[in-house]
Subunit: 401 residues, 2 copies
Amino acid sequence: MHLIVVPQTHRFSEPLPLQSGAVLSAYELVVETYGQLNTQRSNAVLVCHALNASHHVAGLHADASGQPVPRSEGWWDNLIGPGKPVDTDRFFVIAVNNLGSCFGSTGPTHTNPATGQPWGADFPVVTVEDWVNAQARLLDAMGIQNLAAVIGGSLGGMQTLSWTLQYPDRVSHAVVVASAPNLTAENIAFNEVARRAIVTDPDFHGGHYLREGTLPRRGLRIARMIGHITYLSDDVMNEKFGRQLKPADLAPIGGGAEDGVALGYRYTTQEVEFQIESYLRYQGDKFSEYFDANTYLLITRALDYFDPAREHGGSLSAALARATAKFLLISFTTDWRFSPARSREIVKALLENRREVSYAEIDAPHGHDAFLLDDPRYHQAVRAYFEHTVAASLSGEATHG
Amino acid sequence: MHLIVVPQTHRFSEPLPLQSGAVLSAYELVVETYGQLNTQRSNAVLVCHALNASHHVAGLHADASGQPVPRSEGWWDNLIGPGKPVDTDRFFVIAVNNLGSCFGSTGPTHTNPATGQPWGADFPVVTVEDWVNAQARLLDAMGIQNLAAVIGGSLGGMQTLSWTLQYPDRVSHAVVVASAPNLTAENIAFNEVARRAIVTDPDFHGGHYLREGTLPRRGLRIARMIGHITYLSDDVMNEKFGRQLKPADLAPIGGGAEDGVALGYRYTTQEVEFQIESYLRYQGDKFSEYFDANTYLLITRALDYFDPAREHGGSLSAALARATAKFLLISFTTDWRFSPARSREIVKALLENRREVSYAEIDAPHGHDAFLLDDPRYHQAVRAYFEHTVAASLSGEATHG
């Protein structure tokens, strides 16, 4: 029995003031929901997405004849659905595509009403706080005042944390996975190299490539390759690829030396030699076909800017004093992008404010990507938290569909 | 009293067979030497350079009038020179620029005798083993049979290790700093992204940019930025740059929101916001002005290909059985490019062969770059090794100049 989902578009005509000072006069948000809102309207769970994800979190999409599209599962389908750790038989789960995205909600590929042309680089800078404000308006429109929980991984975890600071009265529980209270200099550095690869691609045209009928695919490929390296652990890359060579489709290039042939090397600087190169090129190519370059810039900047401690003189403890939610934090030992130490900073700051916090540090080999994977200890931690802690604070039982 | 050095060019007309099967029919090597060869010809020390370095290891260059050029110190001037840890009052130090480089020895910016055009992408692939063979011929030409020591960091450490395998009878001591027995999948991945940035730059022209009168500066900038991130530790980047903003030269861009102004953000996706971005862009710009793109491809490939265990079924212990030198290995705790674990693999394989090995794991904050810096514990370890162990095995005392 498949969960078939249909995205819905919500239009907003009340202008949204952004942190930068810009104002978005009207916008759309694309949303999916799973499960049913109970009569007390108390069982809603909001899912916040990370860099290259969308509102399509769980279930399958259907084709025109109503048949499920193979391999169209949502990006967190292993975690969220009927009987899953975030159980949609019990919770009403809402997933929203963020402003600035290229997956449906208003973003740089849409038409700028002021010019009649695609927004491109003129799309205003959006922050984690702006996204949370837009999500709160969506909930207003849906008639939902309180969230049983907000959950997100990576950049989604930053939105989750920000919800507890911007709307402390509306969030009962916050589940923050593989996240951080801000980016380190190294994190910003990787984002900046990726952005420079995009911006310096001659097909970028200052961000107005759609007007020019081009796409900065070269830059997007490089950006994705860099990103991909930082999502994986050194260990998992060694296990998966190690120093394996790509099998030769053709006779060895420039072969002849007995040594060389024995080693299996083709001795080439521009062609693929190792499997890891082939994998990264494939990931880069695929990404460059579907992702918007301006969206990449906007979302990496939202990551860079997020820093709730900033307006509190760098004190995360002072920043988190506003939060009243109960927290579950989860990190993964081999995640070097958002290491366990970063999650522990949040745990410490919450404990200094005497908040209720659970923390699970999962010994997983997969690096940052672990938050998307089906690790039994990780999923059990989420399941237990939703079954016992989140469910216990619902004012009544969920209706079943 | 300054050490003034003058590089010298050695020409070789005997063809050099390369590991790839190609043959370099004639070539030049640019060399600097420091100190004096003793009468027993027993005090020679060879220095092998890493990715973007050269034969200019120590001392200063002079201008036309013989005056020292300010800030022209060699790249390992803090370690090598009169009275320094590798003491040129005692040892005759030889530094050679490798084939394929862009700093003087025959490389892709030189003329291909077969075409009368710059070699460009047609320059043959060179390996660590090829470099060592060329260095050995240089020593033959200089009348030096035995090296008191070979020393190198990073890729230079790989050459040092390879010397003990290719010419075990000619090396008494090997000093391998911040190196590895091969690259991991992650190391190769970073090299590959850098290469793709170069190769996909429209100004690369398949590697024949010199013929076209262009330079792939965009790609080189990205390559250098990626490299730079991997040379530094997360800690040192946080300490040096953290989340500091670049001071505004101008009024804030798009400012107006009170929040934004209070946070000091300019809210821009394409301009510099953080200091770390400014630093990386500067490093990338500088590098793209002096480094050759084909050299970058060749040298990163030499790193990728090095793997002495490969022809021994992956057994490093079997590979190192040929080595008869005594070893000093040094690693740095925060080096995540070539972590201490990689040096320990070499130590373990040498011990399995009952070789004499000293190993120092230096607790230094600077990441891979530490091998170029003036850390007292590191320098003391090198000094002690040369003063006591290397000097003890000289057959006589060095003459003084």
